[in-house]
């Protein structure tokens, strides 16, 4: 099995492979030589420079490694080539099984406007907007004026929330068009954009699907992924607080209809937006394993990667819709190399100390190590902290406990935000939507108790004294303070 990815997802896929007795082949860029996924694999081959284009996006080289090492299958993980139909075709053409839907299915669903047409045809509601890629900026302006501002400008070529731009008025369109086109090209190699009405506030709820080659499609429940920054998810949980059994079933069945219409195979996720009145519209289909798949694994007891491999090798699903059992509640916290006090700006750097949480109900899917260098060339996701509990309240308490145990030193991380949200009234009550981060963060700086502040000060003083350094010059001292304020 060739795993055409890096970081925690490469490791997660390889762990299941090892448990199934399947030998794994890793590929890595020059700066990833020492990464966990390279060390864990049975075989590992370099595929080029640090920039994605030079390595993890190089279809030819990756396929060549698979062929040379005699791999039977290729798992793309998420991101990089996971939703690249040409890659799926190239893998198949080389005689290997692609662990995901075939190229044509990816084309039908991966191109967002075609997915919208397909959903509409399957009788699933979609947000008002373009059903074809936009010809140019003028076309965008006309459509926007027709359906009314605010609108959302999206890359038609790929998902994951990358390169999306909210446009609140005609005046903002030009700049947004330029930026979105640029990012769409960088992220997906395709500048095409589409436009749809911005549904907000709304909840981002998605449905996990798994389908086999015989056309059996099963839904495994929903995930609420509304807690986002920059249209990128920070916290995901299941069950979704706003979804009751009836709504759960109709979301699941809508997702199955779309997948069936597309002749879907393997794992996939249908994303929906939920309004306050429980109405929903289809957003897009993610034709890959999701970052947040573990929460679904914890409540269903299934190993989604194992199921992916099974159906990819032509096997049937070992269960039907009726056999799917869900129990308890699970929450995933994304630990990213971003500074939550500076607008979640991604930050590279060197991690020199890590303490991961453990104990009852705690699962870490992590590529963390100390020391390690966090490259700025890739997605800033470092690890996923996933907790399970009998109900949402206990899962939240457990998550709070586990976050409190976690230390990552050397780069700023999203952990302070998680510590905040897990104790914040609206999140704890399940009252949140896609505006949650914008409306609640940054919070008035974390309230350290006086004793805590003293403890911190004493440690800092002990450190100053044990490693003697010039006492901070006054100017710099307050300049630092100024810069600190600037970052808030």
């Amino acid at each position: 099995m060739l795993v055409a990815n890096r970081g925690e997802i490469a490791l997660r896929v390889m762990r299941t492979c090892r448990e199934l007795g399947i030998a794994t082949v890793a590929v890595y860029s020059d700066i990833d030589r020492g990464a966990r996924h390279v060390r864990f694999a049975d075989e590992a081959y370099p595929i080029g420079g640090a920039s994605p284009a030079a390595s993890y996006l190089d279809i030819e080289r990756i396929v060549a490694v698979g062929v040379r090492t005699g791999c039977d299958a290729v798992h793309p993980g998420y991101g990089f080539l996971a939703e690249n139909a040409d890659f799926a075709d190239a893998v198949a053409a080389a005689g290997m099984a692609f662990v995901g839907p075939p190229g044509d299915v990816q084309r039908a669903l991966g191109e967002k406007t075609s997915a919208r047409r397909l959903a509409a045809a399957a009788g699933v509601p979609v947000a008002p907007g373009t059903m074809e890629p936009l010809a140019d900026e003028d076309a965008a302006r006309e459509t926007a004026e027709r359906i009314g501002f605010p609108v959302l400008l999206k890359p038609a070529g790929g998902g994951g929330g990358k390169g999306m731009r909210v446009v609140r008025s005609a005046g903002e369109l030009a700049a947004a068009w330029r930026a979105a086109t640029g990012e769409a090209t960088t992220a997906f190699g395709a500048p095409a954009l589409l436009l749809e009405r911005l549904v907000t506030p709304a909840r981002h709820v998605e449905v996990q699907l798994i389908a086999d080659a015989t056309g059996t499609v099963v839904w495994l429940g929903e995930r609420d992924c509304s807690v986002q920054r920059r249209h990128q998810k920070l916290i995901e949980e299941t069950p979704a607080a706003a979804v009751d059994d009836a709504l759960r079933r109709s979301l699941g069945e809508a997702a199955v209809r779309i997948a069936t219409a597309a002749g879907y195979v393997n794992a996939g996720t249908a994303e929906f937006l939920l309004d306050e009145r429980g109405g929903f519209v289809f957003l897009e289909m993610n034709t890959r394993l999701q970052v947040e798949h573990p929460v679904t694994e914890l409540v269903t007891g299934l190993d989604l990667v194992a199921l992916q491999l099974r159906v990819a090798s032509g096997g049937r699903l070992p269960f039907g819709q009726e056999q799917v059992r869900r129990a308890g509640a699970a929450i995933e916290l994304r630990i990213t190399a971003e500074d939550p006090f500076a607008g979640f700006l991604p930050q590279g750097g060197r991690i020199d100390y890590v303490r991961e949480p453990s104990g009852p109900g705690v699962r870490m899917d992590s590529a963390l190590a100390a020391p390690m260098t966090v490259p700025t060339d890739y997605d800033p996701l470092l690890a996923k902290l996933i907790v399970f509990g009998p109900d949402r309240a206990s899962a939240i308490a457990r998550a709070r406990r586990a976050v409190g145990e976690t230390i990552v030193a050397g780069v700023p991380t999203s952990l302070p935000f998680h510590a905040f949200a897990l104790a914040e009234a609206d999140f704890v009550a399940g009252r949140y939507d896609t505006d949650y981060v914008a409306s609640h963060w940054p919070a008035p700086s974390a309230d350290v108790s006086e004793d805590g502040a003293i403890a911190g000060a004493l440690a800092a003083i002990a450190r100053m004294r044990s490693t003697p350094r010039p006492a901070a010059a006054p100017a710099s001292a307050w300049l630092r303070a100024a810069r600190e304020d600037m970052l808030r």
Binding site: A342, G404, A455, L458, A460
Partner: protein, 164 residues
């Protein structure tokens, strides 16, 4: 020796007496500091209350205290005395630095231009995303340290703004 401590928004003064006792205000603390990981992790017990403190790096340092992260700045009394006046005075300049290495996609201001708080100054592309860096306090652009299209290191000075 007395230290001025700023933890998040909290300010306090800690005195370490020559005989090694710790005073905060007029409160004498029973303190047991145990270093767990050299220069990185400590167990601090104050009057029986156990605290774990980690130094996460950064400048001013980000400190992890019982799972809560905060900026913690410690200045000894000499520096404090010297810096006090300046500290109380109005903030005169604002530096915008690159929070990470990246490509400077766009510069939205010219030297001498007036900018208001929140105005976009430059667009930095890194990690496949475009990030706009904005003015916090506003003023006049005193210096443009970079030109569009250049690659910049993390921490590199980009723009200096003089307050009016």
């Amino acid at each position: 020796m007395r230290y001025a401590v700023r933890a998040g928004d909290r300010e306090l003064s800690v005195e370490v007496t020559p005989d090694g006792r710790f005073l905060v205000g007029d409160r004498v603390l029973a303190v047991d500091i145990h270093e767990i990981e050299r220069g990185r992790l400590w167990s601090v017990v104050i009057d029986g209350h156990a605290h774990e403190v980690a130094h996460l790096g950064g400048d001013p340092p980000r400190m992890w205290i019982d799972g809560i992260e905060t900026r913690l700045d410690v200045v000894d009394e000499r520096a404090l005395a010297a810096g006090a006046t300046e500290g109380r005075g109005p903030r005169t300049r604002e530096e915008i630095r690159a929070p990470m290495p990246g490509l400077l996609k766009a510069v939205h201001v010219r030297e001498g231009a007036r900018v208001d708080p929140g105005d976009a100054l430059v667009t930095l592309e890194a990690m496949k995303m475009e990030n706009e860096l904005r003015a916090v306090h506003g003023g006049t652009v005193a210096q443009l340290a970079v030109v569009e299209g250049t690659k910049v290191e993390g921490g590199a000075l980009l723009v200096v703004i003089r307050a009016e």
